[in-house]
């Protein structure tokens, strides 16, 4: 059994990678995928901690996070489709009529 810290470090790195993607990508689907990456990183933290602490709560939480991710994916992709229909683009920088 390797130490929980390894997993936490891996999770932290993946989380930061996700943040990097959100900050730098323009395609909203890719941005969303980066957010999924962040959520997965957190899932890893949960499961690692759950194993370490010896209680199931964390893993149950991961189940719910997955459900949430699925729900968000459905709604988010629907939003992107409507956006694409109006603008012929998925570039988040095109979402700029509302400002100031």
């Amino acid at each position: 059994m390797i130490s929980v810290n390894y997993f936490l470090v891996l999770s932290a790195i993946l989380f930061s990678l996700g943040v990097f993607g959100v900050l730098t990508r323009k395609n909203s689907i890719v941005v969303f995928m980066c957010i999924e990456l962040m959520l997965n990183a957190v899932n890893l933290t949960f499961i690692a901690l759950s194993r370490h602490l010896g209680n199931m709560d964390g893993q149950v939480f991961v189940l719910f996070v997955m459900a949430v991710a699925a729900a968000e994916a459905a709604v988010g992709l629907a939003l992107m489709i409507t956006f694409f229909r109006n603008r012929e683009s998925l570039d988040i920088d095109d979402a700029n009529t509302l400002k100031w």
Binding site: L53, F61, F64, V65, V68, N96, L98
Partner: protein, 486 residues
């Protein structure tokens, strides 16, 4: 295995989730109803959802002073939850009242609109009554997912699309931080249950200085501050509020914000009360920043909806002052203020719904020129709401600010209160512009006939009564709010 079933059944206390259960049931029935209704008819759905709100209101009120707990301590339908439930229901009810004509005008008479509002309200209720991070998180997500859809509901309108997309991407992003915070707190305390978390932290004082716990607290706060629209996590607010359908903007600025406060306060006080020093000092700064950002940027706006969006940021700042105070007056002041804000803000938005034309036009200051003489009654109602937003006595806004600032003063945060008062003096500037437009400007063009419909008028009347009642005789509501503290 049978043992397990028994354990589960013993802990299933339907009474503890009755309000949200009733609301969800209505929501599902409504969903079916919509499926069999001819397309383009949303009025029956509106009335049905109003019935749902009223029935749920009765069910909620029945729970007053009869706290129910259940589901392994995951749910507490105490007075605190009930008070917030009423706020959510008022917000949802007023929103539904002002929505129907609006939806017809904009060409989206879709019954699912109301279903989503009902589910969003149910999510808010879960947040208010959850005593477990898992519950609160799921409530938050039910609420958020509904709101993502509602914000982008006008799928052919560019603005609405954009509002939905921005809200969604940033909301999901902030969910990432929130979850990381929850994970870290779980790692430190080994539980999601707020009561057990509180016990653990007070039993292990070294946890307070554990960087993981502190970081967890801060990340968790980030997630909630995003929903509350506090600076610097407020950036989505003006855009989304401006682009979303007006009734939804009204709803978002009142109900979900209150829900975020409900969950946040419960987590902070019940679960992390021992880390009070950390979170008060954080929220002090956030509150000041939020008030300043909201009020200052609002000055430069010409779109009234956007102005009100910034003003709602500022109001979140005022309410945060109450959390910083973290005493009886301050927290009950927040409950009071949230209800007051629900009335005044939804009232103001209801007027906007009436004034606006198809495609959300007419919502600049010019749209209000000469309004005071052409539509004196509506204008008087608007003046009352604006006064309440400014915090001028004897309106609910004044009483609410008074309680919150009195709480801050009593807790020794006198400078915070001074900054708050100064900010509300600044806020005058942009509210006054609306009044100036209404009373001191001749109409720029021939004023179009506003179609007044009974439901919208009813929502305005209810809001006026609420604002004045809570302003002139706030004693009743504030004593309820005090009883509602857990």
């Amino acid at each position: 295995m049978e043992n397990l079933v028994q354990i589960a059944i013993q802990n299933v206390n339907i009474d503890a989730i009755l309000p949200s259960l009733v609301l969800c049931s209505f929501g599902m029935v409504l969903l079916l109803m919509n499926a069999f209704m001819p397309r383009g008819k949303s009025t029956p759905a509106a009335w049905f959802s109003l019935v749902a709100i009223i029935v749920t209101g009765i069910v909620s009120l029945a729970a007053w002073n009869k706290p129910e707990f259940g589901f392994f301590g995951g749910v507490a339908l105490d007075n605190y939850a009930t008070f917030f439930n009423i706020i959510f229901l008022v917000a949802a009810g007023l929103t539904i009242l002002m929505s129907d004509d609006y939806l017809k005008r904009e060409g989206y008479p879709v019954g699912e609109f109301y279903t989503l509002i009902l589910f969003a309200t149910a999510g808010s209720m879960v947040m208010a009554s959850g005593t477990n991070l898992m519950m609160i998180f799921l409530g938050l997500e039910i609420l958020s997912v509904s709101l993502y859809v509602l914000a982008g509901f006008f799928r052919n309108q560019t603005k609405s699309n954009e509002a939905g997309l921005k809200y969604f991407l940033l909301g999901a992003f902030s969910t990432g931080f929130l979850l990381y915070g929850i994970a870290l707190l779980y790692g430190v305390t080994g539980t999601f249950d707020l009561a057990r978390m509180g016990e653990f932290v007070s039993a292990n004082p070294e946890a307070i200085s554990n960087p993981m716990a502190v970081a967890g607290l801060m990340l968790l706060s980030t997630g909630f501050l995003f929903k509350i629209a506090a600076a610097p996590f407020h950036m989505w607010t003006p855009d989304t509020y401006q682009g979303a359908p007006t009734p939804i903007t009204a709803f978002m600025s009142a109900g979900p914000k209150a829900a975020a406060f409900a969950g946040f306060i419960r987590i902070l006080i019940l679960g992390l009360g021992s880390m009070k020093a950390e979170w008060t000092s954080l929220l002090w700064i956030i509150a000041v920043l939020t008030m300043i950002v909201g009020n200052v940027i609002a000055i430069y706006q010409t779109d009234i909806k956007r102005t009100l969006a910034y003003s709602s940021i500022a109001h979140a700042g005022y309410a945060l002052v109450g959390i910083v105070a973290a005493n009886e007056i301050g927290v009950s002041g927040i409950l009071f203020y949230m209800l007051a804000y629900t009335f005044m803000n939804l009232g103001a938005f209801a007027v906007l719904v009436l004034v606006g034309k198809k495609g959300e036009e007419n919502l600049t200051l010019d749209g209000f020129a000469g309004f005071g003489y052409k539509r004196p009654w509506l204008a008087i109602a608007m003046v009352i709401f604006l006064f309440s937003l400014m915090g001028i006595p004897p309106t609910a806004g004044f009483a609410g600010k008074f309680y919150i600032f009195a709480g801050a003063v009593k807790a020794g945060y006198i400078w915070l209160a001074v900054i708050g008062v100064l900010n509300s003096a600044v806020s005058l500037y942009y509210y006054l512009r609306i009044m100036v437009a209404m009373y001191f400007k001749a109409p720029t063009e021939e004023f179009e006939w506003i179609k007044m419909s009974a439901p919208v008028v009813a929502s305005i009347v209810i809001a006026v009564v609420g604002v004045l009642y809570m302003g002139i005789l706030p004693g009743g509501v504030i004593s309820l709010a005090k009883n509602a503290l857990f």
